[in-house]
């Protein structure tokens, strides 16, 4: 599944990013395999997506979000 499939408020870990379509800038901002990502719930606006990745708040378009693969985190597993 990709970030685009996450529900608002859901947290996940990035597992893979499509190397050719994802801008390097996104990686530099902390969007990397292994990073935690949370979809911020704002008024159901789905595009652009408002994300918290690695403590950085940023927004990307839905089409970019589809190229970032994740596995969901069970909220109870959350650690520091």
């Amino acid at each position: 599944m990709s970030i685009a499939d996450l529900k608002s408020g859901q947290k996940a870990i990035i597992t893979d990013i499509s190397a050719l379509t994802i801008p390097l800038k996104l990686l530099e901002m902390g969007c990397l395999p292994g990073s935690e990502v949370e979809v911020i719930k704002i008024n159901k606006i789905k595009d652009p997506l408002y994300l918290n990745i690695n403590e950085t708040y940023l927004a990307i378009r839905l089409e970019t979000a589809r190229d970032i693969l994740v596995t969901t985190l069970n909220t109870s597993d959350e650690t520091n």
């Binding site: 050719l20 800038k25 901002m29 606006i45 950085t56 708040y57 378009r61």
Partner: protein, 702 residues
């Protein structure tokens, strides 16, 4: 006194400029990098009795991998030892909350072997955010010195200055090894260039920059066993580099930084809920825009009246106290009204930039980008185009430059092409004077000023036209690379007063001394053109007019005679002949030859329109009247009645809304697109469109 070079680098939104302001105070100047239009901010900071620092505030960047021209500037400076600004020491500015992300850039710069200091800004917010850092341990991990500063509270700068002064004590060793991402490749690089910094070579290959002896191809072709990487291999390797750096950073921070995750995130969440609400978000944005325009219109009225009056009096005084002659008249009728025509717009420009810088400083501007992306996407733009387009309301020149942050070329080109439609501050004087002449100063529903509403509508029209033409261009232009959009959503912050003031002063100064020079020069040329004529009809004007009066047996007061002479002179001056020549072209739009001249001279800068009319009308008249009163007395020579009436006023407003009339904008577009094709297309299409629309408007309304 010895001077060292210091470069400030850092991510956008870290308060780097605040740190720069704190270090240099008002001791700074803003210019451009030679040949390109990226803003260059430099300043001087006294470190001790013996030492001062020349501080360069480099454009904000997330890394040393250039994806925009702004970032390119930073990289080129840091790689080029021969640059006169090449830093003795680099200060990487980070903010406390995004330390992790900021350290990416830090580790890259450190790898270049430059003495590097880490300045962590917004340290005053640490406690509130529940963050604790073991500074000594982090210094050891990163192999550097750290200064905790707060530009807002003005804390920690003594420490930072001390660290800068002692830059020679800093380690230049790298802190994060990345060559393992492709050991063979980096070993070969090292073999080929044993005396060069490996990371520098890698950046040169990646960014394809050249410095005389060092450029990409020779590096790649130097040794036989060196296999150059393909573009996608390089990209892949760059990604591996970023990941390797983050691994190191995460490890370093895990041991040194603790964060209480329960600390307040409340402000961001509750403000976001409102400000990017799918209805209230847009509503608030519209309200803010309306407030800005009402403020520009109403709040600036009083200081503008004062300036207007002041310059009229000054001109009168000059005439009284200096002996009559060509020189006195040049000063009183050419130069003083010309300067007055520049200064009068300072209150409005200052107010506009006050608002723009407040929106940017507070973090609200990013929310506007977020809100508008969905809409802008449909027009072939991105939310990022909103900042250039909104800045276009101040001046198209910085706005065209601001579009550099749009990574996608097609989006960027479209943004550049449509920016001149947005209502720049130079149109404002033209709008204001015409609105006040032809729109009643009354209120709708008791509180909405009609004049303010018309102004709002004109801004709206410019913006709408920009979007519409963007959409057209989007359809016409071939689809190039896939677009992407990434925007940081910074924390909300109270704007720092000092930063706002410095922005307002900077922009106002650049208007007065940049556009002002052109305006003054044009004013003087115009005065000369209006004060001399090619033939006897000008030089013998008094004689001719007096003969006419005698012939027609008129009895006129001395003042009426003088007015008649003045208007006769103007008509037969050089400028009169020029105006007459173009009159047939502008007459169908409701203009006379005087407006025609003003429309042409506006090409230097739109606000010259008002100055031109001021000069044309005041030339030869004994009493200095304010321009507006003079304009309202003008009579249309063909159809009679007031020249500036509703129909011609609207026609003029529309002409100024759509026409491409600014040579500085054309020049900057040429520079940004690197061809004359786009600016010339802009000029022809926009001007033709403006002519047709104004023609239709006047013919329908008259």
């Amino acid at each position: 006194m010895r001077q060292i070079n210091v470069a400030l680098v850092g991510n956008p939104n870290t308060g780097k400029t605040s740190v720069f302001n704190s270090l240099t105070g008002l001791n700074q100047k803003v210019g451009n990098y030679p040949g390109i239009t990226v803003e260059k901010k430099e300043g001087v900071c006294k470190l001790s009795r013996m030492l001062k620092a020349h501080i360069l505030d480099l454009p904000g960047t997330y890394s040393l991998n250039a994806s925009s021209l702004d970032e390119d500037v930073a990289i080129k400076l840091l790689l080029n030892k021969n640059d006169k600004d090449y830093p003795d020491v680099v200060v990487v500015v980070s903010d406390i909350e995004n330390l992790k992300r900021n350290l990416l850039l830090f580790t890259q710069i450190k790898d270049l072997g430059l003495p590097t200091i880490l300045a962590i800004n917004m340290a005053d917010r640490m406690e509130k955010k529940g963050i604790r850092i073991d500074i000594e341990a982090l210094e050891a991990k990163l192999n550097t010195k750290i200064a905790l500063v707060s530009a807002r509270k003005n804390l920690g700068f003594d420490k930072l200055k001390e660290l800068i002064s002692n830059y020679k004590m800093l380690s230049t060793e790298s802190c994060c090894e990345i060559t393992h991402i492709d050991s063979a490749y980096f070993e070969n690089l090292e073999k080929a260039y044993p005396n060069q910094n490996i990371y520098k070579l890698w950046l040169i290959i990646n960014n394809d920059v050249n410095f005389g002896d060092l450029n990409r191809n020779p590096i790649e072709n130097k040794t036989q066993d060196f296999t150059p990487k393909s573009k996608s291999e390089l990209k892949h390797l760059q990604q591996k580099e970023v990941i390797a750096r983050y691994l190191f950073i995460n490890k370093s921070l895990k041991a040194t930084l603790t964060k209480d995750i329960n600390a307040a995130k409340g402000l961001r969440a509750s403000l976001d809920r409102l400000l990017i609400h799918k209805f209230w978000g847009y509503f608030i944005f519209a309200l803010i825009l309306l407030l800005i325009f009402q403020a520009i219109y109403n709040w600036s009225a009083f200081p503008m009246d004062l300036i207007d009056l002041g310059f009229a009096n000054l001109s009168e005084l000059t005439k009284q106290h200096l002996p009559d002659g060509q020189f006195t008249r040049l000063i009183a009728e050419g130069i003083i009204p010309g300067i007055g025509g520049i200064v009068i717009f300072v209150p409005q420009i200052a107010l506009l930039f006050l608002f723009i810088s407040l929106l940017e400083e507070s973090g609200y501007m990013s929310r506007v980008v977020f809100l508008t992306d969905r809409i802008m996407k449909k027009f072939g733009l991105s939310g990022k185009s909103i900042v250039p387009l909104v800045s276009g309301t101040a001046c198209a020149i910085p706005a065209v430059m601001a579009s550099r942050n749009i990574e996608n070329w097609k989006e960027r080109l479209i943004t550049i092409l449509v920016i001149p439609f947005t209502t720049c501050s130079a149109r404002l004087p033209v709008y204001l004077i015409i609105i006040s002449l032809v729109i009643p100063d009354e209120n709708l529903l008791g509180f909405l000023n009609y004049q303010g509403l018309v102004l709002f509508f004109l801004y709206f029209l410019g913006f709408g036209m920009a979007l519409f033409s963007a959409w057209l261009l989007h359809l016409i232009m071939k689809n190039s690379k896939k677009t992407y959009f990434v925007i940081e959503m910074p924390d909300y912050k109270l704007p720092i007063f000092k930063n706002v003031v410095i922005t307002v002063v900077d922009k106002t100064k650049s208007f007065v001394f940049g556009a002002g020079k052109i305006i003054l020069a044009i004013s003087i040329i115009l005065w000369v053109l209006a004060s001399y004529g090619p033939n006897e009809k000008f030089s013998k004007a008094e004689q001719i007019v007096n003969e006419e009066i005698t012939a027609e047996n008129l009895t006129l007061s001395a003042e009426e005679v003088n007015t008649k002479i003045a208007s006769h002179k103007l008509r037969y001056s050089y400028i009169g002949y020029m105006g007459k020549a173009i009159e047939p072209v502008v007459q169908p739009l409701g203009y006379d030859w005087k407006i025609g001249i003003a429309v042409i001279t506006s090409f230097a800068a739109r606000e010259v329109f008002v100055g031109t009319l001021a000069t044309i009308y005041s030339v030869g008249s004994e009493n200095e009247e304010t321009i507006k009163q003079r304009m309202s007395k003008e009579v249309n020579p063909v159809i009679g009645g007031k020249l500036f009436n509703f129909a011609s006023g609207i026609s003029l407003l529309l002409f100024y809304a759509f026409a491409m009339q600014c040579m500085s904008t054309l020049a900057v577009v040429k520079r940004e697109t690197n061809t004359w094709k786009w600016p010339i297309l802009q000029l022809v299409i926009m001007s033709a469109f403006a002519y047709v629309v104004s023609l239709i408007a006047f013919q329908l309304l008259k």
